[in-house]
């Protein structure tokens, strides 16, 4: 299979399996456990991709090939799944991945001002990563926190009822 920059990965080029990548022993054990319980190995693809992303921060071509082997599917199937779901990253994101909701409920209670303040503080636009790798920014669709908008999620932590000033304070407080 082909990586994003168009280069063929080692295994495709040579026809030899990539030196076996492995996750931590705990993660491998969790996957083994799930595979003993799910009706098919293929069904554990999303959990396997989560294990990879939790460990590596993003999902490279080599790790997609690992997932394909682990779940008995083709690498192209893994690629189709990774690209379908917006939470799977195909390139590194920042240490702090900042997600601001742009949907209707947050919009009505101040999301445009919030987004402007966050973009200006970070010097980033939607989809960008800061040069030092500390921050990345993404405008996202509804995060199911509509009664507490506008909201911003940093990695997995939700920040609610934000003013632009409060959001900037949160960002400035990150090490």
């Amino acid at each position: 299979m082909t990586s994003q920059d168009g280069k063929m990965s080692e295994s495709t080029k040579t026809g030899v399996a990539t030196p076996a990548l492995k996750l931590s022993a705990d993660a491998e054990a969790r996957i083994d456990d799930l595979q003993s319980r799910y009706p098919t190995k293929k069904a554990t693809l999303l959990p396997v991709l989560w294990e990879i992303q939790n460990s590596e921060g993003w999902i490279s071509t080599e790790w997609m090939e690992y997932a394909a082997r682990r779940c008995d599917v083709t690498p192209s199937h893994v690629l189709s799944v990774v690209t379908f779901y917006t939470m799977f990253h195909q390139q590194p994101v920042g240490k702090y991945h900042v997600q601001v909701c742009r949907n209707i409920c947050c919009h009505m209670v101040g999301a445009p001002d919030l987004i402007e303040a966050v973009e200006s503080r970070l010097g980033l636009k939607h989809g960008e990563v800061s040069e030092d790798g500390k921050f990345s920014l993404e405008h996202v669709e509804c995060l199911a926190a509509c009664s507490w908008g506008p909201v911003m999620q940093i990695n997995r932590t939700m920040h609610e009822n934000l003013t632009p000033e409060a959001a900037v304070k949160v960002l400035d407080g990150l090490e």
């Binding site: 069904a43 799944v81 379908f84 917006t86 939470m87 908008g149 997995r156």
Partner: protein, 428 residues
């Protein structure tokens, strides 16, 4: 009906009690007595009880839960699966989040009873990928019940086994559609499947499967403890029980509220939500999540919150995600956001949706941004027409319904942005 009396609480009956999110806390308020009771009954009797309660699916469709359970083929030799739909993603909807954060063991007790009723051997809790606390709470709750023997082999000596796993989504709205959810669970892109066959006949892994929303299952313990007739007494004749409404937008106290079916929308806004923010005037309400038709203020304020009344008013109760819009808002701007959302979330397999939602979104963008062409409103009406009823699932309709209803009630706002003749206002 006199609503001045305190409304009976079903889902939030114990929400404010100390540590009710823990195993001990839930046990202290009578938790798991419903499961004990259910396991002494035959599975078919549990199905009948939920049918008699008149509980209807709270994810949006409003289909009777017990009737759905009854569609599982008798004497099938295949494994049967329960999928809990915790992929809460419809803009305006944040009720399942609250249930999972505050009452994880109640949700889980309801799901285990459901699994027993349909004779499932395995259940999946499909939770949206962005959820943090809800996922941690549900994961911990499942592990606790495994330790306590309420998930696993021979539960409470009934001879019935059930395994339960959390399956985490990864950011795709369409996985909240039940067959999209099944595709995602199977390790595929979350693309919906043609029905029939319905999941109850041929669902996950080709086996009989029931997909239920969290809120539907969360009501089951109360029904089993208090009896179907107690539940059926609540609400209106055809919309039984209570419903959660997650209210967002320009009200003083947005939040998630439980009210009896049939409660006046006006009372919810004025009493629970404390009226409009900064004394502004109500302009419109989307009563059941962003895909449902919008109601203008004068219609919304006359509407009661039950399936039939909201339908008679021209919309649908949906998920109960109530979006309250005040007179400072531009309707073309709001519709533009919805256009962008539904085109972003189209799974891409049906041509009318894959092509039509981005097309609609592009036209809505230029209308809202002051670059409309003279025939843009007609174009949008045409797009809405061919988005309706032409696709495998309802995502395409979910943009068509807002387009039609926004035009029906607020057409003048759109017309004001469109030049009357070619060239007159072609800003872009």
């Amino acid at each position: 009906m006199d609503w001045s009396e305190a409304v009976t609480r079903v889902l939030f009956e114990h929400r404010d009690e100390k540590d009710v999110h823990t195993f001990e806390g839930w046990k202290a308020v009578g938790g798991f007595s419903a499961l004990e009771k259910a396991l002494k009954m035959k599975p078919e009797e549990v199905v009948e009880e939920v049918k008699a309660a008149g509980l209807r699916g709270r994810g949006g469709a409003g289909f009777p839960t017990g009737v759905k359970w009854g569609f599982i083929p008798k004497n099938t030799d295949k494994p049967i699966y329960l999928c809990v739909n915790a992929d809460e993603s419809e803009p305006g909807t944040c009720k399942d989040r609250v249930l999972m954060e505050d009452l994880p063991f109640m949700c889980l007790e309801g799901a285990i009873i459901a699994a027993y009723a349909i004779k499932a051997s395995m259940a999946f809790w499909y939770i949206r990928g962005e959820f943090d606390l809800p996922e941690r709470r549900m994961r911990a709750a499942i592990e606790t019940l495994r330790e306590k023997g309420l998930i696993g082999k021979n539960i409470l000596g009934s001879g019935w086994d059930l395994d339960f796993v959390i399956h985490r989504g990864a950011g795709a709205y369409i996985c909240g559609e039940e067959t999209g959810l099944i595709s995602s669970l199977e390790g595929d892109k979350g693309q919906p499947k043609i029905k029939p066959p319905f999941p109850a006949i041929k669902g996950a892994f080709g086996c009989p499967t029931i997909v239920n929303n969290v809120e539907s299952l969360a009501a089951v313990p109360w029904i089993m403890r208090n009896g179907a007739s107690a539940y059926a007494k609540l609400g209106t004749e055809k919309s039984n029980g209570t419903k959660l409404f997650s209210v967002s937008g320009q009200v003083n106290r947005p939040g998630v509220y439980e009210v009896e079916m049939g409660y006046p929308l006006r009372d919810l806004l004025e009493n629970e939500c404390g009226g409009m923010k900064r004394g502004r005037a109500l302009k419109a309400v989307i009563p059941g999540g962003s895909s449902m038709p919008v109601l203008p203020a004068e219609v919304a304020l006359q509407t009661n919150l039950d399936y039939e009344s909201v339908q008679a008013a021209g919309s649908m109760l949906g998920s109960g995600g109530m979006i309250v819009i005040d007179d400072s808002q531009s309707m073309p701007e709001l519709l533009k956001i919805l256009g962008r959302f539904y085109s972003h979330e189209s799974c891409g397999q049906c041509t009318p949706c894959r092509e039509g939602t981005p097309w609609g979104s592009r036209v809505l963008d230029r209308v809202a941004d002051g670059a409309a062409r003279p025939d843009d409103l007609e174009t949008l009406e045409r797009i809405a027409r061919f988005l309706s009823g032409t696709t495998i699932c309802l995502l395409a309709d979910s943009l068509a319904m807002p387009i039609r209803s926004f035009f029906q009630h607020f057409r003048e706002e759109f017309e004001a942005l469109v030049p009357t003749e070619a060239g007159e206002k072609s800003g872009g």
